[in-house]
């Protein structure tokens, strides 16, 4: 089973994404900021990351930059944010995101993108 890490400081958002992904048979772990996300990744890397932008201690951009600098097989990352400005998306891609989505995300939209990035369906 593919493992996905949700990095978000809002408990309800984590639970929402978790339920969508678990219903589609993914294994899900949670971290509430970028540092905890890095700790969990170093213990055991994930197949995909769902990352919020604004979080205490280490934000989503910082998390992605650190993640991309780790000596690990690189996995896709989706940045999910409340911020709808094009400049935020540019920053996200520059930090190493593979996709930028704006909250709130619909279940089907999330699952399609996750499967595409994991190479489970053809584009």
């Amino acid at each position: 089973m593919k493992r996905i890490l949700i990095v978000d400081d809002a408990a309800t958002v984590r639970l929402y994404h978790r339920e969508i992904l678990e219903a589609a048979n993914f294994t899900v772990e949670e971290a509430m900021n970028g540092i905890e996300g890095l700790e969990k990744t170093l213990r055991s890397p994930f197949d995909l990351y769902l990352v919020d932008i604004n979080m205490p201690k280490l934000d989503g951009y910082g998390f992605l930059r650190e993640l991309r600098g780790l000596d690990l097989p690189q996995a896709p990352a989706i940045m999910i944010s409340t911020e709808a400005e094009a400049s935020d998306a540019r920053l996200a891609y520059a930090a190493g995101a593979n996709l930028y989505l704006i909250k709130p995300v619909r279940p089907n939209q999330l699952l399609i993108q996750v499967r595409l990035l994991l190479g489970e369906v053809c584009p």
Partner: protein
């Protein structure tokens, strides 16, 4: 007749458990999955009774809204194992001699002693464990001087640490030959040998006082296990900033096994070694 509320355990629903679990995770970084439900419920019931709040709801409001945070601290105490004994969380000492010290000596350009700060000292099991570990398991001790400074806010516990008298229970995980080498049998238990007692400096420090911590500098490694988890957000942030200046660039901090720097500071680099996750002051400031 209604059951007496004093004698009936308050009911904790699945929804209560979820709500508590998210709150506790945010505050302490400790995550309980559903398999820990019984463990958590039992302790919640105990604190509901002790605080006289009568129900989960009343108790959660106290926990959530209490300004001084005393109840959160009392509960965290119950949810974590708070014992100290020789060689507790030994994997970190393995990491110290197997990974951290080799990296530190490889980087060193002078012959100054390697400095280790243990905070809190508590009754001394941890600094003495480190001393024993270095003498027994680190070949580098033949080439380098090492200073161990152990600090605590509590002067009574420091006096106890200097005296170095321990129960059978406290030394039970030590290999028998270490016990023979570094301890003297006393009527009251085991006392650390004079040599070892002389090799650890014990000092009184309040981590929140600038005047106390200002002179703590140039450390290669800091052990701060199972302390920050009991601090409030501001004290925890102040403490980790203090450690940043107490460490040399490239120096390491080891936290307790249920603790994470993710509640304290983003200044440190997260490093994974064979035996442990350790935090490092970057060699160059970002």
């Amino acid at each position: 007749m209604n059951p007496d509320p004093e004698t009936v355990d308050p009911i904790i629903t699945e929804s209560d458990f979820q709500k508590f679990r998210e709150f506790f995770y945010r505050k302490t970084g400790i995550q309980f999955d559903s398999s820990k439900r019984y463990f958590v419920d039992k302790r919640l019931v105990e604190r509901i009774a002790a605080t006289g709040t009568g129900s989960f709801r009343g108790y959660f409001m106290l926990l959530r809204f209490q300004v001084n945070g005393d109840e959160l601290q009392a509960l965290t105490n119950l949810m974590t194992v708070n014992e100290t004994y020789f060689f507790r969380e030994e994997y970190q000492f393995q990491c110290l001699v197997g990974s951290l010290l080799p990296e530190i000596v490889a980087r060193k350009t002078d012959r100054r002693p390697i400095r280790i700060w243990v905070m809190p000292s508590s009754s001394g099991e941890e600094p003495y464990s480190i001393a024993i570990y270095l003498l027994e398991r680190w070949v580098g001790i033949h080439h380098w001087d090492v200073e161990i400074i152990a600090s605590d806010i509590d002067t009574r516990i420091l006096a106890q640490a200097r005296q170095g008298l321990y129960s059978q229970r406290s030394v039970q995980y030590l290999p028998p030959d270490y016990l023979k080498r570094y301890f003297k049998r006393r009527a009251e238990g085991y006392q650390i040998s004079d040599d070892l007692r002389q090799s650890v400096e014990f000092t009184r420090v309040n981590l929140s006082e600038r005047a106390d911590t200002r002179n703590y500098r140039d450390f290669d490694v800091i052990f701060c296990r199972n302390l920050l988890i009991y601090f409030d957000d501001v004290s925890r942030k102040t403490a980790t900033e203090t450690f940043y200046d107490a460490l040399l660039p490239g120096g390491f901090i080891c936290l307790g096994h249920s603790e994470s720097m993710s509640r304290s500071s983003s200044l440190y680099k997260v490093r994974k070694f064979t035996n442990a996750i350790v935090y490092q002051r970057p060699l160059e400031t970002p």
